[in-house]
């Protein structure tokens, strides 16, 4: 182990391994990043709801059910026949608001835009009948502008990216249409003190947000 040749060989092998690992990580990161088109990030997510299309549309037009379903996190205000304003507050608190204008573009298609707020976004949703009597596919496309040069270089990181919000929303919609409720285990009893509960809430947040739609 003392000869120079051995040292160089070891150093060489280490460098090659490190470069290889770095490249693999970078490639993996890139694969997880959304497409970019004309300055917008574009993400597409879908979820299958086990109900015919009429029932899915019906859920959105049944004002009473919708209000009850949204009660905790958003309000809807009808502007005219085809336009709505949705104000959602950050479920984690902190007073952040998300204001969107929603337009019904036709049967089975609606779009929304958010101009105020830190991340401008546009999106649209198409409803498509799923094969094999599997209900309705809700297909969503979201375009958003990432703020800041650093963020644009690094790609969107962290839990605040709209993609995570979109996946979460689709899962929420599916559950509301199929069961009329969203399961929440945050208030289930445990033997934790306040500090432990706070740490567990962070774990819950990571296990709840993101993943597949």
């Amino acid at each position: 182990m003392t000869s120079n040749a051995t040292r160089w060989a070891l150093l060489g092998a280490t460098t090659v391994t490190a470069l290889g690992a770095g490249r693999a990580v970078a490639r993996r990161r890139r694969r997880h990043q959304p497409d970019r088109q004309g300055g917008w990030y574009v993400v597409r997510r879908g979820v299958t709801v086990d109900r015919p299309m009429d029932a899915v549309i019906g859920f959105w037009t049944d004002r009473e059910r919708l209000d009850r379903a949204l009660a905790e996190w958003a309000t809807l205000e009808q502007l005219d026949d085809n336009r709505w304003r949705c104000v959602a507050s950050d479920p984690a608190g902190g007073g952040t608001e998300w204001r969107a204008e929603i337009t019904v573009d036709g049967p089975g298609r609606l779009s929304w835009r958010v101009d105020e707020g830190p991340v401008p976004q546009r999106g649209h949703v198409d409803l498509v009948s799923a094969p094999q009597d599997r209900g309705t596919e809700i297909r969503a496309e979201l375009r958003y502008r990432a703020g800041g040069l650093l963020r644009r270089v690094l790609g969107p990181v962290g839990g605040d990216e709209p993609d995570l919000g979109l996946r979460d929303a689709l899962r929420r919609i599916k559950s509301l249409v199929e069961t009329g409720q969203m399961i929440d285990t945050r208030h289930d009893p445990s033997g934790r003190d306040a500090t432990q509960e706070k740490a567990t809430d962070r774990v819950r947040e990571r296990l709840t947000t993101g993943g597949r739609a």
Binding site: S175, E178, G180, M182, T185, D188, S190, G191, V203, L207
Partner: protein, 391 residues
């Protein structure tokens, strides 16, 4: 109220915790009358299944009395005696509609980890870590049961708590294991594991038409109980070469179906087992699959291997070549509790299945820590400790 909480790897304690309340329309609150320990709890306690948090309440196999119902509950009333399936199912998704309840789309509100581990998230399970939804468990005086109309079933009169408690998990798991084997009548079925689930699987296989059932374990008292209660043949793998014995008992064919009711902390003898155990202890592998390997090797050509022991992650030395070249059918999964429980309650009521003998150690909730110790170390011929919070 009092509850048995997980306090870190290998550590449990009974503590004061807040009482649960109705959180959603379909919720019910059940006053727990009996709550059984389960072999799969050991994987959680010992840190082999992820996402346990200090203070989590364990327990998922229980029976009790409805004391409160949410406004959306229609099938149940306060005062009903119920048994509750361990897996949570919404009743409204495609999987529930097709009676594959343990694959429910909507009952795990924390699906990210399982989606990453397994590609998709299956149903939530009560008292079964934050990877399975973060629900509080049943080793407590009260428990909140979501989708009560879907998951809780009225108990027939005259059936004891310490028997019906197993309709929650051990019975439907055992039944599903035998159901997977698609028996037509006259088969030889081998069952790995003479615990609660293995014994229920053996009984279910008999009811579904198996002519001979052979149960494999290393604990003489469990094998004796199985032989005595169910009339099955037994093999003690600590004394006998299992593959050799099964070949000989079936005149060279091998069993038509092999049921694995052991799970990821499987035991065996010999150097391969020592190697697997060392790897698992160092967390280099998640599962010790010795009984799965053996089941695949033992099974007759074209037979069925049915896995209901709980496995969590990756295994090595999996005999895929044996499974492929022998054209085996592999079936596996967490049980679809809600599909089987009503039928099993009928069979329980007429005495066709009697799981009451599994409850070898009934005790108060306060003794829960000792209950798990007896169960894990298999002391005092313990098959199951059953906790009684109301006692």
């Amino acid at each position: 109220m009092r509850a048995l909480c997980w306090e870190g790897v290998g550590k449990l304690a009974v503590r004061d915790v807040p009482e649960p309340g109705i959180r959603a329309e379909g919720d019910i609150i059940v006053k727990v009358r009996a709550s059984s320990v389960c072999g799969s709890d050991l994987h959680l306690i010992n840190g082999y299944l992820p996402a346990m948090r200090e203070g989590d309440i364990l327990g998922h196999e229980f029976t009790g009395e409805v004391v409160e119902t949410g406004p959306g509950v229609q099938r149940l009333r306060v005062g009903d005696r119920v048994v509750v399936g361990s897996v949570v199912a919404c009743g409204g998704c495609w999987y529930c509609r097709t009676e594959q309840y343990s694959l429910c789309d909507n009952s795990n509100p924390q699906p990210v980890l399982t989606e990453k581990l397994w590609g998709h998230s299956p149903a939530g399970i009560l008292g079964y870590s934050h990877a399975a939804g973060g629900y509080s468990g049943s080793h407590a005086e009260y428990i909140r049961v979501p989708f009560g109309d879907v998951g809780a079933f009225k108990v027939p009169d005259g059936v004891a708590d310490d028997a019906v408690v197993f309709a929650s998990d051990a019975m439907p798991t055992g039944w599903m294991a035998a159901d997977f084997c698609a028996l037509k009548g006259g088969e030889v079925v081998a069952v790995w594991g003479a615990g609660g689930v293995g014994q229920m699987a053996a009984r279910s296989a008999q009811i579904l038409g198996a002519e001979r059932v052979i149960v494999i374990d290393r604990l003489p008292e469990r094998l004796a109980t199985a032989a005595d209660r169910l009339g099955v043949e037994t093999i003690n793998y600590a004394e006998t070469d299992v593959l050799e014995a099964l070949r000989e008992m079936t005149a060279g064919r091998g069993p038509d179906a092999c049921i694995e009711a052991v799970g990821m902390e499987s035991h065996d003898v010999g150097p391969i087992y020592a190697y697997d155990k060392a790897k698992q202890s160092a967390r280099l592998t998640t599962d010790r699959p010795t009984s799965v390997r053996q089941a695949i090797m033992a099974c007759r050509k074209g037979g069925t291997v049915s896995i209901v022991g709980v496995h969590g992650g990756l295994v090595d030395k999996f005999p895929l070549g044996a499974a492929m070249n022998k054209a085996l059918v592999l079936r596996m999964g967490q049980m679809h509790a809600q599909r089987y429980i009503p039928m099993l309650l009928d069979r329980l009521a007429v005495g066709e299945i009697d799981p009451g003998y599994l409850a070898t150690h009934p005790m108060s909730l306060e003794d829960g820590v000792r209950g798990y110790e007896l169960f894990e170390k298999k002391q005092d011929a313990c098959l199951r400790s059953v906790l009684h919070p109301a006692a």
